[in-house]
Symmetry: C2
Subunit: 302 residues, 2 copies
């Protein structure tokens, strides 16, 4: 069986065809423009691949908010996004009709989490989270071996955290919440706080300790709420890999030995980790969604 995967990001689309990380037979990437133009390019890519070999299903890991509930009237839509031209876009229906194959659909972060379960850092785990820290902050994951849904889907980037305005007078940039996690610790928040692109800041700049502090507070809240077996941190900001030891150390300090498990007390280097699939996590996660849509997922029921 051959699958298609679509990583639909707010700034970039990645499409691939294959069966897994060792077998990607074609891949393209282009900027996200209007919904019409973007969907046309996506469909053209897969139609061309279908001339070579049939696809069993397509997986779509999308920026949001989305409607992932198969029984909702707007299932398969990108819903209330402020992104111009994308609100109320029927991405699943458009693609299923054009390509004649079933589509799996979930948030970009749930897709990434599924990819990590299938081929990456979360193999064998039934409860874990995947956070991306980049242009925005999003989180998804598996709980009890299924992708996390509920009323809608997690919006982990918007939790509220302690914010000491004397130590950090920056007010946050979330248009809805000001100083929520995304408002304080996303890439644009870093750039706005320090007035320069964060990646130009030296390793000993206080920006990094502060960033690690907020991300550690977030990890602690997710640990207390979900009891994940692992936390995977991806996204552009986490390519600053020196953040990992800072975050791990602060998570231990904040938890203060309250949660007495070796994974946190002794093996935290294996507990808070980068994605095993690296920068391919998004599109491979979409491929894992396609497997699931075809009823062929070896790891997670639909």
């Amino acid at each position: 069986m051959l699958y298609g995967g679509i990583e639909a990001g707010g700034t970039k689309i990645v499409c691939a065809v294959g069966t897994g990380p060792e077998d990607l037979q074609a891949q393209i990437s282009f900027p996200t423009t209007t919904s019409g133009e973007t969907l046309t390019r996506i469909i053209a890519f897969f139609q061309q691949r279908q001339l070579v070999a049939p696809l069993a299903a397509i997986g779509i890991g999308s920026f949001g908010p989305i409607s992932p509930d198969r029984f909702a009237p707007d299932y398969g839509y990108i819903t209330t996004t402020p992104k111009p031209g994308w609100a109320q876009t029927d991405i699943v229906g458009t693609i299923e009709r054009a390509l004649g194959v079933p589509a799996g659909f979930d948030t970009d972060v749930n897709a990434a989490a599924l990819g990590e379960k299938r081929w990456g850092s979360a193999q064998g785990m039934d409860t874990f989270i995947y956070l991306t820290i980049g242009t925005g902050i999003g989180g998804g994951g598996l709980s009890n071996d299924r992708l996390m849904h509920g009323l809608l889907h997690p919006e982990m980037g918007h939790i509220r955290l302690p914010h000491d305005r004397q130590a950090d007078p920056f007010l946050g940039i979330c248009p809805y919440h000001g100083d929520c996690l995304e408002g304080l610790a996303s890439g644009p928040a870093l750039n706005a706080r320090w007035g320069v692109p964060a990646e130009t800041l030296p390793l000993d700049h206080p920006a990094w300790a502060l960033e690690a502090h907020y991300l550690a507070l977030a990890c602690v809240n997710f640990i207390c709420t979900l009891s994940p077996q692992r936390i995977i941190l991806g996204g552009g900001v986490m390519s600053q890999s020196h953040l990992f030891p800072l975050i791990r150390q602060e998570v231990q300090a904040l938890l203060n030995e309250y949660i007495q498990v070796p994974a946190i007390l002794q093996q935290i280097d294996a507990y808070i980790v980068p994605p095993g699939l690296g920068s391919q996590v998004g599109v491979l996660g979409a491929l894992a969604l396609a497997e699931q849509a075809a009823g062929e997922s070896p790891v997670v029921e639909r």
Copy 2:
């Protein structure tokens, strides 16, 4: 089939025999003393009931931390509790051996959540949380139709929240974390902050708006993390039912229409609710755990 339920609280034990809220055939309650004395009283109660009619299983909803993982070497134990004489107590093994029936075992709050799913305010829901706000603050629930576990079990009372020390200079009373949710908003925290038993404070005292503020922040973080279909708030502090409208209003204000679902935007009175089973939620939850242990739960697989 007849079941036994044990609500094992840090200050009080409740035992009952029956099949559900309309059919409780016997119930007792006594203070939690030493582990030896307490377990002896529990066992004596059920042995006497076994003379009347056989029990198919026992359910135990326990204060913690506990080891709920059936495959862990210390499964069935209350583990590192600071409660004198209770650390490393094999509560499941002791009870199963004495009574000769299988025992279901989970946190008090997961048990309560299961009770609410079976007979209370969460019927038909697959993802929701139950929070108790009393001597401590704990949270459990179902995610994807199973009780929430993972590395261990949730410890929702210990999330960190914004704490404006100018508006509220109280430092919090959690011995591990100071001003975590439990440190700021549990019953003892209320009493310590205001210097009097909270239930003696008039309804217009600023204590209540502040309490609602912290509980609303907690609800918002749980909503963003888990996307629950409902939040059930129980425990002694929530018997101050005037807190509910304050919390609901502040949850809406804090979310600021970011999550566009009618349950939050229009029907929040049905979204943040007291337990349908009232003060019986703990022991009925334990009964629902017993059904599960007997393989007879109509609502949730084990």
